[in-house]
Symmetry: C2
Subunit: 195 residues, 2 copies
Amino acid sequence: MASNEQRTARTRAALIKAARAEFAADGYADAATTAIVTRAGATRGAMYHHFKDKLALFDAVVEAEDARLAALIDSETVDMPDAYKSLMHGIGIYLDNATSPATRRILMLDGPSALGWKRWREIQSHNSLRTLREGLEAAQAQGTLNKSLSVPVAASLFAAALDEAVHVIAEAKNRKAARDDAINAAEAMLQGMQA
Amino acid sequence: MASNEQRTARTRAALIKAARAEFAADGYADAATTAIVTRAGATRGAMYHHFKDKLALFDAVVEAEDARLAALIDSETVDMPDAYKSLMHGIGIYLDNATSPATRRILMLDGPSALGWKRWREIQSHNSLRTLREGLEAAQAQGTLNKSLSVPVAASLFAAALDEAVHVIAEAKNRKAARDDAINAAEAMLQGMQA
DNA sequence: TTGGAAACAGACAGTCTGTTTGTTTTATCG
DNA sequence: CGATAAAACAAACAGACTGTCTGTTTCCAA
């Protein structure tokens, strides 16, 4: 009926989707593989056939989640010629779309802890962090960023500040006010990095 | 022989010290309570008498670790009248003393994931983050920090950037160069927040 | 000194992960 | 087309770990 390729694609997708929900609800450590496969309509046997272990499944979830954010930012800033404006716009997109409990829990809390900082940064480096790095590179090319700064390092530090902003906003009583405060602080930091 | 108070203090201290070592070596999730109590020369029964569960023990370890860093920063910046210089000095102290594998793993990777961002920030808010917040408040009072910025928010974002800097430095091939890059980026961010 | 509480010790039940063995479905080749 | 191999899936199993529960020892207060 269905080719092996199709079967694999379907099963993997179902597992990743179900895993995302369970990891978001209970956190990586407390999400049981039985709950994941039940939600996916699969079995633990199938899961361990497609993924080396629970961590490999989590890795795939993190990658998908960060790719989603990166694609969103890319699509929203694709035709903005002004690097600085594009950066600030991308930052707003990020803050507004990473604040969901699922994204916070999976990408920012459990990601570094479960995968290790190195692997976690590697994933981001191809996705959401890449968009920021490219933005800073463009700004440097346009002369609106200090040439003596190391862009990879500055991007990493700034990205961490944005992740923190996501937490601050998400936990704030007044989200709008917190968002304004965070944007102000982030923009101040960015201006400090200007030439 | 020993009073209950003394017994409790000794046992708790031994457990926290041993737990720090095991949590640092294997991470929170993979550190077995049996290994912790064995290292501490105690039993699981004693551990569960003094701590509600494994997480409560981890909470105590995180608190002790962050208090250690805060005390160090306080002692090194206590008699510096210039707020800005004091801030930069404190940042250097932090970067040089949080880079150890144990501190990185416990405080920065497993802390937020295991305790939750809220509780984790609460602990830091009384310790290492407090030193930074006080530094920024002093700078604002001396007029070297933009009055329109929310100090708590700015402190949080900047602290996250510093934590990221710790990871970047720790994983870099050339630590000295990475430290310079990080300090440059951090100082640029700080200058952007000046009035 | 004696009853009670705090500190400690060890056994036990329940849960979860990763492996292993077995079955079904798809692919390949004569 | 038929048979054999390989991939996909299923379920049972062993090992490990956490939190609880029961029992024992040490300290404190009356």
